[in-house]
């Protein structure tokens, strides 16, 4: 392709990765389309409240306020140079076109793409606990979203439980929040895990300092922090009233009216899957992820991956990865790019990857979770499937792979389509079959990426790719 060919580059996701990608493409004279499901750009970390909300950035984003504001300003400044389509869910990809559902009008249309950058980010990773479906239990991310987006707290006496950097961050944000008390931070990771990660984290003093500061602040404000815990159960009748946890020797009961629960993040990979990207197991992230090179090229020519959707590395890395993927896209399509900048970004991404790996070691998934999960533990809340049902299925049918387990038990068949339950289900299947979790596979992606209304109005009919003579049967 020559540099005069107009390139219809499309970016999915207006988080840090997508926005930096858009900025980079625009700076090189392209007019990319930037699509985002959310009403306002910023992604998960720099999520913006509705326009008429009047809280200052400092209150919303704390120490990250400057970065948040810079990113928002970048997006606002790009309006004339990009085609920004908010409120638009990409629900399918087929034949060089994306299918978009515009939320407010419930209309769908197709969008042709040339090169495509997938910057679809992440959502919470949850390991269920008995009682986790009681009203008052939220994911850590949801607890934060409530605060950031709507200015609401999930409760007045809140326990934050699970593991990961977000655990402490959300605890600080809640402890600072007027009218809310943080009853405890219950971390399933051990102090030893965290100490062991310190040397690697020293490479990134700012991140380490932010974490240490957060912990010190919590302690100074009397918030109890317990490490190496195991959740036993969430108690309550109509809603959460307490959590029972174990320190290994003893059980403790702690009254609370809400719980934020989470074990880090999981990449949102369905679009990459629909685009037929090759997936590989990432031991560091304990997940099957779309493969990509250092610049973000996926296994499918013309499809680039950036940010948390390609592996959890955090917001700073997402910004670098978005810019790097955009440079790769430009170079692959014959545009001149600054090679030194590209190398600099790759170096920075390399550093941040090591930090990410250190963080993963500092906050590991509890390896004994599946072994300890009682048979009655509900895993799939859409379909009411328990750990015991999965174990029985593995035992009685020999199911040893996630898609077969789904077919036989319905796990992952509900509205969430496995976003919430698939990880826990895989852990249980691995435990039940005595195999490493990577060998039980991953659920196949199928459209729609999220539920779509039947009554969607088609704005633009797809160009006639209808196959001949439809198979006629039932």
């Amino acid at each position: 392709m020559t540099s005069t060919t107009p390139l219809q580059a499309v970016i999915v996701g207006a988080g840090p990765a997508g926005i930096r990608a858009a900025q980079t493409l625009a700076a090189h004279g392209l007019r990319p389309v930037l699509i985002d499901e959310a009403a306002r750009g910023g992604g998960q970390v720099y999520r913006r409240p509705p326009a008429h909300f009047q809280r200052p950035p400092r209150a919303l984003y704390g120490s990250q306020a400057a970065r948040a504001t810079a990113l928002h300003r970048t997006l606002d400044g790009l309006q004339a140079q990009i085609d920004y389509q908010s409120d638009s869910l990409v629900w399918n990809a087929e034949g060089g076109q994306l299918d978009l559902l515009h939320g407010p009008t419930q209309t769908t249309r197709t969008l042709r793409y040339g090169p495509l950058i997938v910057a679809s980010g992440a959502t919470d990773r949850v390991l269920p606990v008995p009682g986790w479906t009681l009203p008052g239990v939220y994911t850590l991310g949801a607890a934060q979203v409530a605060l950031k987006f709507q200015g609401c707290a999930i409760g007045r006496n809140v326990v934050l439980m699970g593991t990961g950097p977000l655990l402490y961050l959300v605890a600080c944000q809640y402890a600072r929040c007027a009218g809310t008390r943080v009853a405890a931070v219950l971390d399933t990771a051990r102090r030893a895990d965290q100490l062991a990660a310190v040397p690697a984290l020293l490479a990134e003093p700012a991140i380490l300092a932010r974490g240490l500061h957060c912990v010190a602040w919590l302690r100074a404000h009397g918030v109890p922090i317990h490490r190496g815990i195991r959740p036993v159960r969430v108690q309550g009748d109509a809603r959460v009233s307490a959590v029972v946890w174990s320190d290994g020797a003893q059980q403790h009961r702690l009254a609370c009216d809400a719980i934020g629960l989470g074990h880090g993040l999981r990449s949102e990979t369905q679009l990459a899957d629909l685009l037929d990207c090759r997936f590989v197991w990432s031991p560091a992230e304990h997940a099957h992820l779309p493969a990509h090179d250092a610049a973000g090229r996926s296994s499918v020519p013309g499809v680039y991956l950036a940010g948390d959707g390609a592996g959890i590395m955090g917001a700073d890395a997402a910004e670098c990865a978005g810019e790097r993927a955009a440079l790769a896209l430009l170079a692959d399509h014959g545009r001149a790019v600054d090679g030194a900048r590209a190398r600099q970004l790759e170096r920075r991404l390399g550093q941040l990857r090591r930090v990410g790996q250190a963080l993963a070691r500092a906050f590991p998934l509890p390896a004994d979770w599946a072994a300890q999960a009682p048979d009655a533990l509900l895993l799939c809340r859409c379909e009411n499937i328990t750990a015991g049902q999965l174990r029985a299925c593995a035992r009685e049918t020999g199911a040893d792979e996630m898609n077969r387990l789904k077919a036989l038990t319905r796990i992952g068949m509900g509205r969430c389509q496995g976003r919430i339950c698939a990880l826990a289900g895989a852990e249980i299947l691995a435990q039940a079959t005595g195999r490493p979790v990577e060998q039980v596979g991953r659920l196949r992606g199928q459209a729609p990426i999220k539920p779509i209304p039947l009554h969607l109005q088609t704005q633009q009919v797809a160009d006639g790719t209808d196959a001949a003579a439809p198979p006629r049967d039932e």
Binding site: Q97, G398, A407, P451, P453, T458, T465, A467, P471, D473
Partner: protein
């Protein structure tokens, strides 16, 4: 799985662990025959496990009705046979007419199929509205087959293979047949480097992939792959008692035990030889037709779409017969979008052909010779 390179001998080898191959394995074991089945992936992972789940006789060509009737009897006892109810329900199958011509077609089908005891009941006008308050206004009438119904293919097809295994069939999953030879007396099958099987009889139950095997033994057929598009809604309160079809084709739908509406119609898209998915045009068409047919779906959501790979023959009839070229080779493939209901009976017929050389059910219409033009002489 065998890890030695020794040759396993068996009476009957089966290629393909769909509902057809698994049913044949079970039927053979019930006759006491030694049987070994090779399945490329997992049993029931292809068409047999991802289909719509319609278990109907109504609307089939008359030539298929003896086979369908035989299957109907087996389905009645399926829970006992395979150890799960597979959500099989004789819920009724209702074929909708949208025009007077459709109504007449349904009437004449009722007359033509009179000998087969399908119990077809024609509905129209006030009785239609009274019995189907959920039906949109496009429907003029229809034909109900009360004893036809639906089942969950994801459960039934793998369970058939497990039942065959419990009955003593040797089932090798994740074991593709890579090569087959005939030494003049027996077939020699090879999978990878470690598994070899020797058998005097070979059943070709490889679904959409059966053409290569037939061709290798001199019986090329115009088999092509098709990919029916499927979609499912979120669970809804139960309101649809019957499995619905439409005279002349287009959409079909049923409500699963869980409350989800399962819908099919139109064509999917092949990703490669094995994988397929629904395509946007089919999804859009399904959505429009579904709301027309069942206005209650107006506020529902699709939560997933999928497709599968099925073998079609030009006349939409299967190939179910002994090979004319290679004694010992028996074909059972090409069910053209309608083999789920037939599967258990096809298994029995294949077992009869293997043991007795003839079937007690008429299958003349399914002979491979009808494609003689394609078979080089």
């Amino acid at each position: 799985m065998s890890s030695s390179s020794r040759i396993i001998a068996t009476d009957v080898a089966i290629v393909g662990g769909g509902i057809v191959g698994a049913s044949a394995a079970l039927a053979l074991r019930r006759k006491g025959v030694d049987v070994l089945l090779l399945e490329h992936d997992l049993c029931g992972a292809r068409a047999s496990g991802v289909n719509y789940g319609g278990v109907r006789r109504q609307g089939r060509p008359l030539s298929q009705l003896p086979l369908a009737q035989r299957a109907h009897q087996i389905w009645a006892d399926l829970p006992a046979l395979i150890g799960t109810d597979g959500e099989y329900l004789r819920s009724g199958h209702f074929k909708i007419a949208r025009s007077q011509a459709d109504l007449q077609a349904l009437e004449s089908y009722q007359a033509l199929s009179r000998d087969f005891d399908l119990g077809l009941e024609l509905l129209s006008g006030a009785s239609l509205r009274q019995r189907c308050p959920w039906l949109g206004s496009h429907a003029l009438g229809g034909s109900l087959c009360p004893q036809d119904g639906q089942a969950n293919p994801r459960l039934v097809s793998p369970a058939l293979a497990r039942a065959a295994q419990r009955a003593g069939a040797r089932i090798h999953e994740r074991t593709p047949l890579d090569e087959v030879l005939h030494d003049g007396r027996q077939f020699l099958l090879r999978s990878g480097r470690h598994l070899q099987v020797r058998a005097p009889v070979l059943l070709n139950c490889a679904g959409a992939w059966a053409g290569a095997l037939a061709a290798q033994f001199g019986e090329a057929v115009p088999l092509r792959s098709g990919h029916p598009a499927m979609a499912v809604t979120e669970p809804l309160p139960m309101f649809l008692p019957w499995s619905l079809g439409v005279e002349g084709g287009s959409i079909y739908c049923r409500q699963a035990a869980r409350g989800n509406l399962v819908l099919g119609g139109g064509s999917g898209l092949a990703l490669d030889a094995e994988r397929a998915r629904s395509q946007r045009s089919a999804i859009a068409a399904l959505a429009v037709q579904a709301i027309e047919l069942l206005p209650a779906l107006r506020n529902a959501h699709f939560i997933r779409t999928w497709s599968g790979t099925e073998g079609y023959l030009p006349d939409h009839q299967p190939v179910l017969c002994q090979s004319r070229r290679r004694p010992g080779l028996i074909h059972g493939f090409g069910f053209s979008g309608a083999g789920f209901q037939l599967g258990p009976a096809v298994g029995e017929v294949l077992a009869e052909l293997a043991c007795d050389g003839r079937s007690s059910t008429p299958i003349e219409a399914f002979a491979i010779e009808r494609f003689a033009a394609h078979i080089p002489t």
